[in-house]
């Protein structure tokens, strides 16, 4: 087989991680092993935490949005203090503070973190790769309408776009508009309409 790192399908193989570990990888292993040795936690607790972090997904945020669509009092609490409202549903935001911003007929909200990649992971899981790119981070504040068009959303000039740059201790989630035609749907059915991007502001909920 030619040594060209391509699989028979033409795609490159993923390189094996045979290279020496980096300074920070060494540091992480050293600190973790010390903490385990000193009895602060066990390796199975570390693993359980990683599993819990990996299990977070946009389904958490979708459940919160669907609740806000069917329960006006919950929606009021969510817009007032999104961390506390999410906790009511069992989603612990941790030490960070969550702000929910509401899309209306007049206002469309878009979330970005220009400085790094701040993202409401507890509700949405890991951020998509594009969220962390320089292109999205710089363009979302500079030309949000063009960015939204590339995501398939064309807004009229009547609609005000509010871009939220997560520069410090807040995290943001967009409360999208409940789609037309969803009147008879249950909370659980509504949650299936709520996409990850609709909670970042780069998408709209699915139509029923």
């Amino acid at each position: 087989m030619p040594h060209d790192h391509l699989s028979p399908s033409g795609h490159p193989y993923r390189e094996d991680n045979d290279h020496p570990i980096t300074y920070w990888q060494r540091m992480e292993i050293a600190v973790r092993e010390l903490m385990i040795e000193k009895g602060h936690f066990t390796s199975s607790e570390v693993n359980a935490q990683i599993e819990a972090m990996d299990a977070r997904s946009p389904a958490n945020g979708a459940a919160v949005v669907a609740r806000a669509w069917v329960d006006p009092e919950f929606k009021t609490r969510l817009l007032k203090d999104a961390s506390a409202a999410s906790l009511e549903m069992g989603f612990d935001i941790g030490p960070l503070h969550l702000i929910a911003v509401e899309n209306t007929k007049e206002i469309h909200n878009l979330i970005v973190c220009t400085l790094c990649s701040c993202y409401p992971r507890n509700l949405l899981g890991l951020p998509p790769d594009w969220y962390k790119t320089r292109a999205y981070r710089s363009r979302a504040v500079r030309e949000p309408r063009k960015v939204l068009e590339e995501f398939g959303i064309t807004l009229s000039s009547e609609t005000i776009i509010r871009v939220h740059d997560s520069t410090a201790d807040m995290r943001y989630i967009v409360l999208p508009q409940r789609p037309e035609g969803s009147e008879g749907m249950s909370e659980a059915e509504l949650a299936t309409l709520v996409t990850r991007d609709s909670m970042i502001g780069t998408g709209l909920p699915k139509r029923p």
Partner: protein
């Protein structure tokens, strides 16, 4: 206690200190209004280095795109909100 009130006009200081600063460069020198006070948070400019970090009041400040980008703004009345610490704000 938050000492700035909602809707108060503020300018982001145009200074450029080195270090871990959470005030985006594109907003320095720009004028906006306080959207809401957020409460006290440890100053990341010390916190990031493991130094004793005094609490600073944090605010959400709302800017118009016209203010941020001038004639180049895509839509001048669209807005941009960012969290800015008190010591980065000055009264207009």
């Amino acid at each position: 206690m938050a000492r700035r009130k909602m809707s108060e006009r503020v300018r982001v200081k145009a200074m450029m200190p080195p270090g871990h600063v959470r005030t985006p460069a594109y907003l320095r020198g720009k004028t906006g209004v306080i959207e809401r006070p957020l409460g006290p948070f440890k100053n990341p400019e010390q916190l990031a280095y493991g130094l004793p970090a005094p609490e600073k009041q944090l605010y959400r400040v709302r800017f118009t795109m016209a203010e941020v980008w001038g004639d180049q703004a895509e839509c001048p009345t669209d807005t941009l909100d960012a969290e800015i610490y008190d010591h980065w704000l000055e009264r207009v």
